[in-house]
Amino acid sequence: MVIVEAKDLTYTYPNAEKPALDDVSFEIQKGEFVILTGPSGCGKTSLCRCLNGLIPHFYQGELKGKIVVNGLNVVDHPIHELAMCVGLVFQNPENQLFALSVEKDVAFGLENLGIPRKEMRERVNWAMETAGIMDLAERAPHELSGGQQQRVAIASIMAMNPEILVLDEPTSFLDPVGAKKIFGVISKLNESLDVTVILIEHRLDLVARYANHVVVMDAGKIILDGEPREVLNSEKTRMLGVGIPKVTRLFQLLEEQKALHSKKVPIMAEEMGELVRGALKA
């Protein structure tokens, strides 16, 4: 089932000369784990903003083409309505927490929606449990590490029970350990709750294993869109300077020298290990 559909989407910020998104078309199926990547300034964040209506409702500017999310045409629905089916987690964890305690922050969206207190309490506890921050419930945001803050942000979005979870470089302010924990939480949501995940990420080494759909952008356009191994192994992707997994690159080099061969391009270290072991045996 298609859950996000964009058709000939072109968007220009107010007073900008060039469009930030230039004739973009793609489809995302329900339950997919999508990685969106591309060089800085290529329009990834702008695309996220289109998914929950920040573009065009908050940013104004000129939007052409069509974008439909969970059956709702973004242009025709206010942000708070879209927010119930698309949760957006931002890059800087610090600037998306408002309250003075973690649980109050997780409740913020539900309060805005007018959810009754009893149900709110249940959903808040569930979201904190899922994000592994139950023990932080009463802490103030500024006492937390960046990784903990980002998990609070994810919990507060998940409490609103969205069908689609969009994360815009959620780990760029975090250390690798904090980042790994975030990815763990996201993949759990994707697998056990069938939440559609759209993740913008540069550290493909860490996340390629979770994806079943990769989209590469450059200069406001979609360059590649498809199955992860195919996209990550493509010459185009590498030429853009996208940091493809090191094992994939290693495989490409070894294959060029005819030292290694496989139909299935490795994107995780384990797969590469197996390939090498197989080659050594032969």
Partner: protein, 262 residues
């Protein structure tokens, strides 16, 4: 800064912390009323001592002392000007009762600081925001208030970082005369303001993403519910006002210099 330090909430649990902030505010008002109707030292002294059990019950003695120390400077100004006026007014002489009057004015100020610091030291800003909401103040204001409190430590840290960065580039804050020193702070203020603007934009986006303004009547995770101790404090506050007014009208308060036989 130290005055504010003495007002900073710390999340510990005590019977005073558990009280409904509205009731605590009512208590502050009752102290306020009694403090301003008296000009004599004795009742103000009683008022000052009366509040100490609250401080001990709330286990905030250390912070409370710090807030008093922070108020010491203003208190000494109040004392000084009062003495000076009395001195000039009385034709350049000073009696014991003048000193007592000046002390009373100072103690009045200190008793007020005391009650405010009990209030702020034992009320979490979240609960304060909630109390504001329940007092029919528009939610936007309450939200602005709690968010401002939330970002105080963040901005303070950022200011420090910018200051360090500018110092590392050779900015000398302590150099020059008064005006010059104020000018020295411009390279710190500008990045701070720009970053605050960017931050507020990001916050606005994040609020939108969490369905800000979806419906008129939003709900709240917490409730304020009056408990036994709250009713008790209401009674205490009313008693304070009644006793205060009664004493003011019907009892002629002796001055301490009289008592001591000056």
């Amino acid at each position: 800064m130290s005055v504010f330090d003495g007002l900073k909430f710390r999340g510990i649990s005590s019977p005073i912390h558990m009280l409904d902030p509205r009731i605590k505010f009512f208590y502050v008002c009752s102290i306020f009323v009694v403090a301003i109707i008296f000009f004599e030292l004795l009742p103000l002294l009683v008022l000052f001592l009366f509040q100490i059990p609250f401080v001990i019950l709330a286990r905030v003695q250390k912070e409370w002392i710090r807030s008093l120390r922070g108020a010491a400077f203003l208190a000494s100004i109040i004392f000084g000007t009062n003495i000076l006026f009395r001195f000039i007014y009385a034709g350049y002489t000073l009696t014991a009762s003048d000193v007592e009057y000046a002390s009373a004015m100072t103690l009045r100020f200190i008793a007020l600081v005391e009650s405010f610091s009990i209030f702020f030291l034992t009320t979490s800003p979240d609960h304060l925001g909630l109390a504001l909401e329940k007092s029919h103040i528009p939610y936007e204001f309450c939200f602005a208030f709690t968010t401002a409190v939330r970002f105080v430590p963040v901005l303070a840290e950022e200011a420090q970082t910018i200051m360090d960065a500018q110092k590392a580039r050779g900015l000398e804050l302590e150099k020059g005369n008064f005006l010059r020193r104020i000018r020295n702070y411009i390279p710190i203020l500008i990045p701070l303001i720009i970053s605050a603007i960017r931050r507020s934009l990001e916050l606005a986006e994040a609020m939108e993403a969490r369905a800000w303004g979806a419906i008129e009547k939003r709900t709240n995770l917490y409730t304020l519910k009056m408990k036994r101790n709250d009713y008790l404090l209401v009674l205490v506050s009313i008693a304070v006002i009644i006793v205060g007014i009664f004493v003011k009208i019907y009892v002629s308060v002796p001055t301490i210099s009289n008592l001591l036989g000056f």
